[in-house]
Amino acid sequence: MSVSTSEQAGAAPKSRLRSFLDGDVWYSFTRSPVVMLSAIFLIVTFLAAVFAPYVAPHDPFDLASIDLMDASLPPAWEADGDPRFLLGTDDQGRDVLSTIIFGARISLIVGIAAVAFSIVLGVGLGLISGYVGGRLDAFIMRVADVQLSFPSILIALLIDGVARSVISRSAHDEIALYVLVFAIGVSGWVQYARTVRGSTLVERDKEYVQAARVIGMGPTLILWRHVLPNVMGPVLVIATIHLAVAIITEATLSFLGVGVPPTTPSLGTLIRIGNDYLFSGEWWITIFPGVALVLLVLAINLLGDWLRDALNPKLR
């Protein structure tokens, strides 16, 4: 008896962390090993990307530390391998593992920035569309429909290609990353806008919004303070899956040679560079960045699928 009362007393002021750990989401997380593995892999990758200069065994962009004598060494476990370079070296003697860590960093930066841009654009337009309604709503949704009928990778490629020819060559390398983020971001806003518009239509007529309107709150403040927090749930799920798509899009564009410049290679650029050496048998230069890309995308997809199911009460 005394035990249970003390438990109740302890549980009464439940901390946020405590209630999260007791909740269904955490429970389903601990019950699926694949999802936990994905999460651990992602956390490790994120940390490695953030602390790349400290984690990477070599600095692939420090010319002083690169020795051409080390060029094109196979992975360490092969006969000619060098234990200093676990995954081998590329044609210029750069450590493949280090370039992958730095490449993942660029891929993640571009991917996350593009998703953030999509969210701002999509959620903003969705809120306005749903709240204002009328012709503006019809117009925004028409544009969304039209865009949806084109594959997003094609839209990103077209925007990127057009932007590239507009910008002078000398300025390319500096703003290539921003152009890329813009192109991928614009190609992905529709899903957010549609979802948020739907939820906004529902929230708009609820009493708390009417009450806010009655006390004289402006529409911007109502949308920001009251509607936005209530429509962000699904956005989180879309964003997870979208991150995987954005990373693949970035890698594809970089592979096609219209993405990030070779001076700051992403995973896609590394695969492109390595592809030239495939025929001479130096497979590790292109395959390892490829494996890293697939694992990254697969982990995000698995986590996203799980999140969608876990947050959706209908599926329980």
């Binding site: 594959p151 020819s165 096609l256 219209v258 495939l278 395959i287």
Partner: protein, 326 residues
């Protein structure tokens, strides 16, 4: 009905005009078109005369109208890089892309549908699970990596298949085909598989989901209750009802195949439209880029229009909505 078609047609025209405007703006304002046409030693007077003759001094809208009119007839001017009419380049490259896309679409359907049916019927079978896992990997593998892996295994390690180009082609009165020569067919295998794989996993998952849905319906239960053999119920009753959405989605996916062909063509150096476009971006060859923009937009607009019309023809509910809503 007429109202519905008119609305859709109007939308399509707006989309085409917007794309044409972007293409025109690119052509007219990125760099100097005159500079790209004449040599270094052309005098300023000659340049001015050429500018006048080409109508580049006319008001914006007249120039745009001329551009759109020419584009409608397939004329996009001269490629800066190849020094040849863009229409000629396109005519040369189009068969390669269409052949590759068509074969891939057939491949995706011919393998995707049986795999989907199988995984729906034997939901817990070992092979079904293997298919589903493969399809998850297929979705996570970017197209270009599939191509690289195929090249590595079948081109570099095993040396079975050629890794780039179209092989020998036969000219059939302006249409070059690689389907009639051995080297052409061998060259087609890897690009076609690369392009088909993603669509295949998509079709498989779609067929599986639709099939599971249909198998749960009353008329299938009734067919079973009548004592019809499993084979008949599965393939005659269920599969037939599954295929309607599958065919529509496949129609829409035709556009994606053309879009993803850019990537496949780039990996295998396949001399098609996509490779032409990627090279045009690299060389800032604006007329070629403009032509590709307009053509791909036109292609998508036509596909979407046709699919919309098909929906309208197939689904009576849309007709009621159109009458009541607008």
């Amino acid at each position: 009905m007429i109202g519905f078609i008119a609305t859709r047609l109007f939308q399509s025209v707006i989309v085409m005009l917007t794309v044409a405007l972007i293409a025109f703006a690119l052509f007219r304002f990125v760099g100097d078109p005159i500079n790209n046409m004449v040599g270094q030693d052309t005098t300023l007077e000659e340049r001015a005369a050429l500018k006048e003759r080409l109508g580049l001094n006319d008001p914006f809208f007249i120039q745009f109208a001329r551009f759109a009119g020419n584009a409608a007839q397939g004329e996009f001017g001269f490629s800066y890089q190849h020094r040849r009419p863009v229409s000629e380049l396109v005519a040369e490259r189009l068969p390669a892309t269409l052949e590759l896309s068509l074969i891939s679409a057939i491949l995706a359907l011919a393998i995707g549908i049986p795999m989907g049916v199988y995984t729906a019927l034997r939901r817990n079978g070992l092979l079904s699970r293997a298919f589903m896992t493969l399809s998850l990997i297929g979705v996570s593998l970017p197209t270009f990596l599939i191509g690289i892996l195929l090249i590595l295994f079948f081109g570099v390690i095993l040396r079975w298949l050629p890794t780039f180009g179209r092989g020998e082609v036969v000219d059939l009165g302006g249409w070059t085909t690689g389907l009639l020569t051995e080297s052409g067919l061998r060259s087609l295998i890897m690009p076609a598989i690369t392009l088909a794989l993603f669509q295949m996993t998509l079709i498989m998952r779609l067929v599986r989901a639709e099939m599971l849905e249909v198998l749960r319906t009353d008329f299938v239960k009734f067919a079973r209750a009548r004592g019809l053999p499993d084979r008949y119920v599965h393939f005659k009753t269920a599969l037939k009802n599954t295929l309607v959405p599958v065919i529509t989605i496949t129609g829409l996916q035709l556009g994606s195949i053309i879009a993803f062909a850019i990537i496949t063509e780039s990996v295998f150096q396949w001399p098609g439209m996509g490779l032409l476009f990627i090279q045009a971006i690299g060389n800032v060859d604006i007329p070629v880029m403009a032509a590709y923009l307009v053509m791909i937009a036109f292609f998508f607009v036509v596909i979407n229009f046709v699919v919309d019309m098909l929906y309208y023809a197939v689904d009576p509910r849309l007709r009621v909505d159109a009458r009541g809503g607008h």
